[in-house]
Symmetry: C7
Subunit: 75 residues, 7 copies
């Protein structure tokens, strides 16, 4: 049984924080509030590590073409 | 309940300034006056930090494919 | 009330010079004479700064995918 | 007899771990749980090597445009 | 009155040489003989500056996605 | 008489190894088992040279947008 | 009278060698045997200069998005 990539995201909506790895070395952590077919994302309580410090970003709309991967769970 | 990424932008139109992170290291702050499905943006009273100084840009039309993320609120 | 990004350009056609920021660090100033939906632009009396000197380019057709932003006014 | 590239992936769903080579030098190993026509992937028990150490990523949704190749088997 | 970017090119077909600025730092000069909607170009008597020397290229078909701008006239 | 680029690939399916040159400097050798219109490829008995050593990759699914060229024969 | 960029290629099919300039600095010389609308190319008796030496590549299928320009004639 196969899982559709985007449908996996439904399981983590408004749940525990996810990690978003972006092109250019950005890594953002936040609660996924929404997404669309382009993988545009809405993150709430987003945090980004910049030069070793955690910067709080509040709500973020991320353009999907920047996404490398989304990690909905960390073991 | 999921939120559509682009619809979030309706909530910040003509409101408090948003921060736009662009590919190539640009970061622009301004009041969002409009957008379209490509994430092309109209910003009013835009400011960009260049070499440590804030440069006022007035109105800007930003081509959507440059956008990494839009931060409509800062905690 | 929202403004459509491309419609803003109608207000500056054949008016005061606009500034075009392009990927790769080009910055061009000129009078906007036309555009299309891809943000292909026609500029008249275009000037580009190259190595600290202003080079006059006359008319330019700019391919839209190079555009970062268009600044129709400077405060 | 020719094999369709995406159909090959059906044979390794939920099987032995695959190796995913991504642009930018990322290499991820995990069990393929799903994919779509864009080569968006769902990986389970994903592991990534970062600075010589293996980092466990749990489940990952990888955006297809980052993929260089997928190696379903290693001789 | 607005000018459509591609229609401007009709005025310089088979006329005086145009300058084509390409991504990656190429700059080519030649007589425009044709174009299409992707900004694919046909240039005749094309010349390119390589390491300070002018190299004659004869006829060139340039793929449109490499174009930064076309300068049909130089003041 | 013209040859369609993709149809050429039919002639080398399951034949002698082909060489695939990929963006980013990868070069892969293997037996072509399938392809599609995006130039997504299935290679069998694939080998890649990494730091001067040949690494056997078994079967590979290569995403077509990484391909620079395919060399079905070497003189 | 304008010439359509792709139709120019019909004139050099199976004729004298053409030069293909590719992104990333590759330059390939060969006899054009076919092309399609994406500028995917089939070259016969292809040669590439690598580190100052000419390497014979036989037949090549070049993916069109790598092409900067095609030079069907050299003056």
């Amino acid at each position: 049984m196969t899982k559709r990539p985007l449908e996996i995201l439904d399981q983590v909506l408004n749940g525990q924080p996810v990690i978003i790895s972006l092109k250019g070395g950005h890594e953002i952590r936040g609660v996924l509030q929404g997404y669309d077919v382009h993988l545009n994302l809405v993150l709430d309580r987003a945090e980004e590590e910049v030069d070793g410090a955690v910067v709080k970003r509040g709500t973020l709309i991320v353009r999907g073409d920047n996404v490398i991967y989304i990690s909905p769970s960390v073991e």
